[in-house]
């Protein structure tokens, strides 16, 4: 009996000390970790918009995020769009509003949210703000996805769409940019665990840039073909890698047009990864276009002065 107590006390003490150490380290590092993720995300967004060190982003650049939530309320499901709103056309501060839409895509209600712009980056703060305005019993909210509208002054630059797709090993996280005509202007692979040298080639420009210029109608029927990339196209896709590229603007336009409607050439030895990315892009793009049309319809009907 004495032995048992001794062992129990010993193990409990060890666990407590271990927990204290881990907790302490977590407190020190949590902020830096969050910051890293945020910076990484921001950097990728700027890269997608074509800004880098040589070509810095303009100061007027504004990134407005729209969050989409699934809201279970009294056994009914509705969609909650959390949208940034700028009252009137003045330069007043941006605030968030919650737009409730039913499954058929009809407007239900609109609530002001008590949340600041910086708070909106935090998932828990968003959830709290939304639950505060929703009445009724058994309200359950579930984060679905988000998209970002990049704006330069009054001009809309692009929609940035983060997405996720099951790859060869684990999920591939990517982000794509679409312009106002819903054509892809860029694709960026954020995170993946594909095999280096094979599936990891999805990070390469010659694969990612094949998506550029494809509009939503084309994306719907997009597929992977097992053909080698023609030399000309390869050189064209990787033109940014070489400093002394001999492509004039006319030539770029011409080649872009020539290859615009072509299917995606699979990466040698990594058909599964290629197909995964294509399917992910297809999925995100088609759903987004449908949703954004519904949303814009409602916004114009309800006369909401959105910030994007």
């Amino acid at each position: 009996m004495k032995e048992i107590i001794k062992i129990t006390v010993g193990l409990t003490m060890t666990c407590l000390i271990a927990a204290a150490i881990m907790g302490g380290v977590f407190i020190v590092t949590a902020k830096a970790k969050k910051h890293n993720e945020y910076v990484n995300f921001q950097e990728n967004m700027l890269k997608l918009l074509g800004f880098d060190q040589n070509n810095p982003a303009p100061e007027d650049l504004q990134l407005c995020t729209v969050y989409r939530y699934l809201i279970h309320q009294d056994s009914k499901i509705s969609l909650g769009y959390m949208i940034p709103v700028q009252p009137s056309d003045s330069d007043e501060t941006i605030m968030y509003q919650l737009l409730l839409v039913n499954i058929q895509g009809e407007f239900v209600a609109r609530h002001d949210l008590n949340i600041s712009l910086t708070q909106a980056n935090d998932e828990n703060d968003r959830k709290k703000a939304i639950t505060d305005v929703l009445s009724g019993e058994a309200v359950q909210i579930e984060f679905a996805d988000q998209f970002i509208v990049a704006k330069n002054g009054k001009e809309r630059l692009a929609f940035l769409l983060p997405g996720k797709t099951p790859g060869f090993k684990t999920h591939i996280n990517f982000m794509m940019a679409m312009n106002a005509n819903y054509a892809i202007v860029g694709l960026q692979i954020l995170e993946h665990q594909e095999d280096p040298g094979l599936g990891a080639e999805i990070e390469q420009e010659y694969f990612k840039n094949q998506f550029i210029g494809k509009d939503v109608e084309r994306i719907k029927t997009l597929k992977v073909i097992k053909e080698p990339l023609p030399d000309e196209q390869l050189k064209f896709l990787e033109r940014k890698k070489w400093i002394d590229n001999d492509f004039s603007d006319d030539k770029i336009n011409e080649l872009q047009k020539k290859y615009q409607s072509k299917d995606i050439c699979a990466i040698t030895g990594a058909t599964i990864s290629s197909v995964a990315v294509v399917n992910g892009v297809k999925n995100v793009a088609t759903k987004f276009v449908y949703r954004v049309k519904v949303l814009e319809n409602i916004i114009s009907k309800q006369n909401i002065s959105v910030a994007f």
């Binding site: 010993g10 060890t14 881990m22 995170e191 665990q193 095999d195 280096p196």
Partner: protein, 210 residues
């Protein structure tokens, strides 16, 4: 408490050569096969393991008198898990690039059997300083092993070393796939054993002459 024939340098070199975790003990093969696709990954993994081994050995040799012998293995596991979590959090916070390429393998250090083995075989029975020397030796042995495997696989698979293009072409893509890890480890083990046999034979011959 130290045995007479074991000097510090002996303990240190023991981890790198005689008891090399990968090539002699053949322990912790999972990371050796899974993550050693290039030199940089091997180096980062080695540093992480070195840190965990060092801290765990230090902890265990400090508190060895208070550990109940019946629950020593759970205590080791807890100690290692604590330090691995610390490594994981620190890497994620301050070295995001390294964290990205190591991914899930940092958390797997918890079940690296050679760390537990070292704690049970060495740190539990020896004072603090020899335990630390042993830990560093073991950690470095693991690091060199990982880097060697990573070097061969990167050079043969991608034609590069540390990201710099060496060969200018890719000799055999097969080497970056997980299966090739076994081949490379096997061949390097054979080379390691052969060198040792030759070395010992010469030593014996020299002794015989004198």
């Amino acid at each position: 408490m130290l045995e007479d024939n074991k000097s510090y340098s002996n303990i240190f070199l023991n981890g790198i050569f005689n008891d090399n975790p990968i090539f002699r003990l053949a322990l912790s093969m999972c990371p050796a096969v899974g993550i050693s696709t290039n030199v940089m990954n091997g180096l980062l993994m080695g540093i992480a393991v070195l840190f965990v081994q060092f801290c765990s050995s230090l902890t265990i040799s400090l508190i060895k008198n208070y550990i109940h012998p019946r629950i020593r293995i759970p205590t080791y596991t807890l100690t290692i898990a604590t330090w691995v979590t610390v490594t994981d959090l620190v890497l994620a916070a301050f070295f995001p690039v390294a964290y990205k390429s190591l991914g899930i393998f940092v958390r797997l250090i918890v079940v690296f059997c050679f760390i537990t083995m070292r704690l049970d075989v060495f740190a539990r029975k020896n004072p603090v300083f020899p335990s630390l020397v042993d830990a560093v030796g073991m950690g470095l042995g693991f690091m060199f092993g990982m880097m060697a495997i990573g070097g061969v696989r990167e050079l043969m698979g991608m034609g590069t070393l540390l990201g710099y293009d060496i060969l200018g072409f890719r000799p055999l893509l097969f080497f970056v796939l997980p299966a090739s890890g076994f081949f490379v480890v096997g061949f390097m083990m054979a080379i390691f054993n052969y060198t040792e046999t030759v070395f010992n034979r010469r030593k014996r011959a020299r002794r015989a002459v004198s």
